[in-house]
């Protein structure tokens, strides 16, 4: 067992290294020169700047950030400063360090996504289990069709429709940001209400999509567990239907869904790029969209680093949790 854990840890560590290397190389493909952006910003502050000064400024900045060195050297210096907890400065928000931007955005994203995922997961699995248990009933078929279409609609389309409906046509919800901007952030009932109001639409769109997927898969899982021998035996024993549903079928169909939940929670740290940029929510997804469009690869690597760590931890956790949840895996070993 000890050897298994160590082996898994080493392989996850290398997975993480190669993953960051690939992302690192890809982000450097960007046609935008980040140094030009910084110099442009500095030039705007001071009125007169000669061509010579411009060139020398560029050179200094290049050498400060090590951008004049070969790519692999840059990668190693990136990893080195990463170990010391330094993600470098953001190019487009110039002197602000990347880690500060990320820690400012992190609570918004994590709050929005974990709440939405957990609500959607619970509701979706309950509905899916009931729909699967009574698969022949009309309402079950209707539910499957409804949630199937919901999960298959391209997500941006769903989000945009919600926004147009509830922001422009019926202006119930605010459009911009994560909290009422006129108020200072201190804890009060009104402020919390404002946060919920701002998070409602993005959260609703996420819940609908996640729920769609989990209802459809849970229904299929429940149907397959329902036809297994032990469930048929339970029916023949004349156990009450409710008992069979919750104790025989539901518990056994939950196992694959736990995998799904763990992976989705792991992905939280990447932010929801589409959701946050459509609803202008101040989280990690919007930050990474901003970074992509402005060629700010330090910032992008910073966000990607957290998302890679999140997924790697989730994958690792799954390997260790599964034997605890499913006794059959333990016996298999």
């Amino acid at each position: 067992m000890k050897r298994y854990i160590i082996e898994r840890l080493i392989s996850v560590f290398f997975t993480f290294l190669i993953g960051t290397l690939i992302l690192f190389l890809v982000t450097r493909l960007s046609p935008i020169d980040p140094i030009d952006t910084i110099v442009g910003k500095l030039a705007m502050m001071s009125t007169t700047i000669s061509q010579e000064q411009f060139e020398s400024m560029k050179k200094t900045l290049m050498s400060i950030y090590g951008l004049d060195k070969p790519l692999l050297v840059q990668y190693f210096s990136f990893m080195k400063s990463l170990v010391m907890g330094d993600l470098g400065p953001s190019f487009s928000f110039f002197p602000t360090p990347v880690s500060e931007l990320i820690f400012r955005a992190m609570p918004w994203t994590v709050g929005l996504l974990t709440t939405s995922i957990i609500i959607a997961w619970l509701a979706g699995n309950l509905i899916g289990a009931i729909a699967g248990f009574f698969e022949q009933k009309k309402f079950s078929k209707f539910l499957e069709g409804f949630f199937l279409v919901l999960s298959l609609v391209p997500y941006p389309v769903l989000a945009l429709t919600l926004m147009i409906l509830f922001v422009f046509t019926f202006p119930i919800f605010p459009y911009f940001g994560g909290a009422p901007s006129s108020m200072i952030s201190h804890i009060s009932f009104k402020y919390i209400l404002g946060i919920i109001k701002h998070a409602f639409l993005p959260s609703l769109s996420l819940i609908l999509v996640y729920m769609g997927a989990s209802v459809v898969t849970m229904r299929a899982l429940t149907i397959s567990v329902k036809t297994e021998d032990f469930t048929e035996y339970a029916f023949l024993r004349g156990l009450p239907k409710r008992h069979i549903l919750w104790h025989y079928v539901f518990r056994n169909s939950m196992l694959p869904q736990i995998t799904g939940l763990t992976l989705s929670i792991g992905q939280v740290f990447g932010g929801a790029l589409i959701t946050e940029s459509i609803f202008s929510y101040p989280g990690l997804g919007q930050l990474s969209y901003y970074a992509i469009v402005n060629g700010d690869y330090n910032l992008l690597m910073g966000v990607a680093f957290f998302s890679l760590v999140g997924i790697c931890i989730a994958v690792l956790l799954l390997d260790f949790i599964y034997p605890l949840v499913d006794p059959r895996v333990r016996v298999g070993e």
């Binding site: 290398f14 960007s30 298959l152 609609v153 940029s277 969209y289 992509i292 998302s307």
Partner: protein
């Protein structure tokens, strides 16, 4: 072969959702590949038809604000989006079957371990930001095959993980040991010992990859990172949003690509479910029973 085709048609009759999928897909394919070349004018050109007309007999799906015929635009979009999804499915599956087979079959060797590591690394990379960076970096050169290639560089990872576990299971069978002991080459072993088992899985996975590609293209399109000169589902939505079609009540413009993409994705989904059931020997018994009932009903 003949028997397989016959079984396909028999299955078409007994499974409603499968026949819905096949029929919708055939109609969409005809619209995209047979009808689209007959377009009286290039649908991407502006000002060919009057602006902002609602659906009528002359313009069955209305016209856009810049003077394009939505119907012909949709046929082009269907064709391009399908081409993109088929290319993505093909490329991804090509890489996935190679990597998955190597890492599963050579599990104990260093090659297998390394391939597995690469598969794992690609499957933890956040997909959407990765593709957006690629698309943004090559924005000027974007065309359909290039987007398909970009999507394939990340789309192969999860399928190869699945394939690896399938291969690990199959390779313990005796006929594989016999083939290996007889000194067959790696390719021959894959082709004749593994492929027959894996084929149903490949079929359904390619369909799933196609669905994924269509969805991804739509997401890229909404951000304006798809091939903007070509009509695809994503770019049609992008331009409609850009001209505030929904706010201004031009529902036919934005509604057409949305309905089309839902039809495309649901048809592919039902076909992949149906194919999986049809080719799965375990569910064949239930299938025979259903065929029998159908036959009895028709006799009565």
């Amino acid at each position: 072969m003949m028997r397989r085709i016959l079984r396909f048609f028999r299955y078409l009759r007994i499974s409603k959702s499968f026949s819905y999928g096949v029929i919708t897909l055939v109609i969409l394919l005809i619209l995209g590949y047979v009808v689209a070349p007959f377009a009286p004018y290039d649908p991407m050109r502006w000002g060919k038809v009057p602006r902002d007309r609602p659906p009528s007999l002359k313009y069955p799906l209305g016209t856009t604000t810049v003077g394009q015929d939505v119907f012909w635009l949709a046929t082009y979009a269907i064709r391009n989006s399908f081409t993109l999804s088929i290319l993505t499915g093909f490329f991804s599956m090509l890489i996935a079957s190679f990597m998955g087979f190597i890492s599963g079959y050579l599990n104990e060797k260093v090659t297998g371990k390394l391939t597995n590591l690469i598969i794992d690394s690609f499957s933890v990379i956040p997909g959407l930001p990765y593709i957006m960076v690629l698309a943004f970096s090559f924005k000027e050169y974007l065309n359909i095959p290039l987007i398909a290639l970009f999507l394939s560089t990340i789309g192969w990872a999860w399928p190869s993980k699945q394939l690896r576990s399938i291969i690990l299971e199959i390779r313990e069978k005796t006929h594989v040991y016999t083939a290996r002991a007889s000194g067959f080459s790696l390719f021959t072993i894959f082709w004749s010992e593994f492929l027959p088992y894996v084929l149903p899985w490949i079929a359904t996975t390619v369909l799933n990859l196609m669905t994924w590609a269509i969805g991804m293209e739509t997401a890229l399109g909404v951000f304006g990172l798809s091939s903007m000169e070509k009509a695809t589902i994503g770019t049609t939505i992008y331009w409609a949003m850009n001209y505030q079609a929904l706010l201004r009540g031009k529902w036919w413009w934005i509604g057409t690509p949305i309905v089309t993409v839902i039809l495309m994705i649901t048809s592919l989904y039902y076909i992949s479910i149906g194919l999986g059931e049809m080719l799965n020997p375990r569910s064949r018994l239930a299938q025979l029973r259903r065929e029998r009932i159908q036959w009895l009903k028709s006799e009565m």
